[in-house]
Symmetry: C2
């Protein structure tokens, strides 16, 4: 159904963006053959580095005419294989479209290209007094375009919502090469089906985002960070729900297992007074404009934590202290990954069922013979499960593990959750979709895909 890129087609690409922005030697293609998903490798035949929506449109039109598969790619930090060129063909890499086009201080909006690094944007708007609260752990390298395609979150979702609440409008190139804006630059929108929301989280299967209008909010001037330790995962998770029931909405509420903290300490040579009975941690941030008010909130949080058998609470109000606590959380993935062959699953459940989820995961691990290190955005019920190969045989790792993962997802779904909170389905979670969705439901998704991409050229084989 798909065709390879012939030298004639390559010539057409060259006419659009010139030789210098096309990559097709094996050595150079190597960078584009993988993302951060395990050790998967798929080589595109050609990579193009467009600089304008019109160039993308022209490229995609050629591909559509010749049935050449197209894979859009952001920074390649994805964890579900969404940007892997599993069908070969053309990869459209967005790194040269990295301009912050406008920061509209009157409307608290910004227009960006998809290749802007998330942290660059956060810092740029912060200098003007604005908060853009979508900050995934990979914020130092991931692109805003990739964040949009995955419906990204990060620690501050718990108070501020996911990227879904910050994307007002998108300029996209459709698979037929037409360019449209999906909506309007407004905070409200009730004018027909909301295509902006449909594109968010569609993993580059419906079109290629080439501009985004993002909402900004005033940046709170103060924050305080607490690190609370517990004797068990379950006690830490129980405390999460209790904090909300006290009427407090923290600006971050992260969970970390002891083993994750130990590996960060080891990986980064950090000293940290880790007592023997500390098995789990919560990182709790509150923010606002009144330090008095925040201190009052911290006192309330403290009471809740004590009621939930917290061992110790560390309060960080100096910038350096806060930085080192956040470092613990942010480098956990990297530290675990440098220690073991792993597989990361991105479970999400209603918040109060977290204790049941984490308990179940450990039990499933015991049956299938794998260990796991869990951490994540506990305030959202979003738990990242890092499964370690440990002493599993290669054979079991390759085959038996799938059954274990299936059981983890079945538990997640049973608890009212779903199989990804923010990492997306991409390639590697696709096989688990039928656990959650009926064939009828998947066919609705496939039908939508067909409306936008009748020739199935764009990121085909992802999600479903």
């Amino acid at each position: 159904m798909h065709n390879h890129i012939t030298s004639d087609i390559l010539d057409l690409f060259k006419q659009v963006i010139g030789e210098s922005r096309l990559i097709y030697t094996v050595e150079e293609l190597d960078t584009y053959a993988h993302d951060e998903t395990e050790d998967l490798r798929f080589y595109p035949e050609v990579v193009a580095l467009p600089e304008t929506p019109e160039e993308i449109a022209a490229l995609i039109k050629i591909c559509n005419n010749h049935q050449v598969p197209v894979t859009p790619r952001g920074a390649g930090t994805g964890l579900s294989g969404g940007s892997l060129a599993i069908n070969g063909g053309l990869m459209i890499a967005m790194q040269r479209m990295n301009k912050i086009i406008e920061i509209d201080e009157r409307n608290l909006q910004a227009i960006v290209e998809p290749g802007v690094i998330t942290e660059t944007f956060i810092n740029t708007v912060a200098e003007k007094g604005f908060l853009y609260p979508v900050d995934p752990a990979s914020k130092g390298s991931c692109f805003i375009g990739g964040n949009i395609s995955h419906g990204s979150g990060g620690p501050r979702v718990v108070k501020y919502g996911t990227i879904r609440e910050y994307v007002l409008n998108l300029q996209v190139v459709l698979p037929n090469g037409e360019i449209i804006w999906t909506g309007a630059n407004t905070l409200k929108y009730a004018a027909g089906y909301n295509l902006t929301q449909l594109f968010i989280g569609s993993e580059g299967t419906l079109g290629i985002v080439c501009k985004a209008v993002l909402k900004l909010i005033p940046k709170p001037s103060q924050d305080i960070l607490l690190l609370a330790s517990f004797a068990s995962n379950e006690e830490a998770c129980e405390a999460v729900g209790a904090i909300f029931r006290q009427g407090i909405v923290p600006s971050a509420l992260e969970f970390m297992e002891r083993r994750g903290v130990e590996w960060v300490m080891e990986h980064d040579q950090i000293q940290f007074d880790l007592q023997d009975n500390m098995q789990a941690f919560l990182l709790i941030e509150v923010d606002g404009n009144s330090m008095d008010e925040l201190l009052t909130q911290c006192e309330q949080v403290n009471i809740v934590l004590e009621e939930n058998n917290c061992i110790d609470v560390l309060l960080a109000d100096a910038a350096s202290q806060k930085e080192s606590l956040w470092h613990l959380r942010r480098t956990m993935a990297v530290s675990i990954k440098s220690n073991s062959i792993y597989k990361e699953e991105d479970t999400v459940v209603p918040r109060a069922t977290l204790p049941a989820l984490i308990k179940g995961i450990k039990e499933i691990g015991a049956v299938y013979g794998f260990e796991s290190v869990c951490y994540g955005h506990a305030g959202d019920g979003n738990l990242h499960v890092n499964i370690l190969k440990g002493r599993m045989t290669d054979e079991d790792w390759k085959h038996k593990l799938k059954e274990g993962i299936k059981e983890i997802f079945e538990l997640t779904i049973h608890l009212g959750g779903t199989i990804s909170g923010e990492h997306g389905i991409g390639l590697v979670q696709r096989e688990y979709m039928p656990l959650k969705y009926s064939e009828l439901h998947l066919n609705l998704m496939r039908g939508i895909k067909k409306v936008f991409d009748p020739n199935n050229i764009l990121n085909a084989g992802k999600i479903f």
Copy 2:
């Protein structure tokens, strides 16, 4: 393409829900022939009052098999004719599905049926300390199902977001009679196309919502309301943007024109010290848990207001004062409508362009010979424009006015906005959709419709 309801088909309906929950006498149908949109009347042939999703599924399956058009109806408070049975056929009215099924205090979630009155739900969860901030002016009568179908907002969107941010999961009956849940009961979701978000604002064209899982948040304990008066609409609208630029996020920021206030005073026999130079008003609410913090915010707001030539500021902290100020705003639509034949347009633009929008609306009115009273959710850039018939001839009102409305929408779109912020497109705004959307764009919407409803039985002829 559509068929009428024969006596055989009526018998099939009776087998599903019995005689007593079917309405088909002309007198009884009258209630169901209109909503709050102008004076439009369209009679369904039969109205059904189902009590379960399974009954809806069985009814819709019969209609799908016999190509009978189906119109879902909530409370009939819509302002765009979305629930009018323009093709006759079966109306499925949701009023008997009015249960709050569960309030899950551990997860801050609730499960409701679509016929729950919005205010009933707000008050029920408030008693438990939760805030459900979606409160359209019609909250005392509108249904949550209708709110979902229109992507409703209300005054508190400015701080808390629209209903889009509170719907976690929907149980829907599809036009083929199948019942699905669109997503999961989670705060984050990255598992394929977000059908929940697609259903929100789809105006009953894709399926019938029969259960909704809603997010709750802790209810702030304190609030203060300010009423600021200005000598011109433009000065009031300029102040709106200035408040946000000061880093303040009010929990409501409403605009009202003098004439609207006068009509409420007249309509409800209210005394209010309306000085001659007061031409426009802002109703500004701040909320939180610390009164000290709120008073500080009010001082900051006061400074901004003074800098923007505010005439006077009234501070309401007593419940009765607040209630009477909110009454001004909430009964404005009713007061205007009792005074004149009118037509209401629901414009939305980026917030800082409000002064240009309101100035342009008055200029267009001068050209076409109509007056207008504007009010709305200024903090969101959402302005409701009530066009008054006044001295316009019936002929001009019927034909020439359309050109004027077209110009208003063209201005709205030129300013970066769109043709509905929260009222939806329904029947009466459909003809203006091509002003904003290309044929290609509309065809994407039509394509999605076809995926869900290949026989086009459900609320056909709405939106596009």
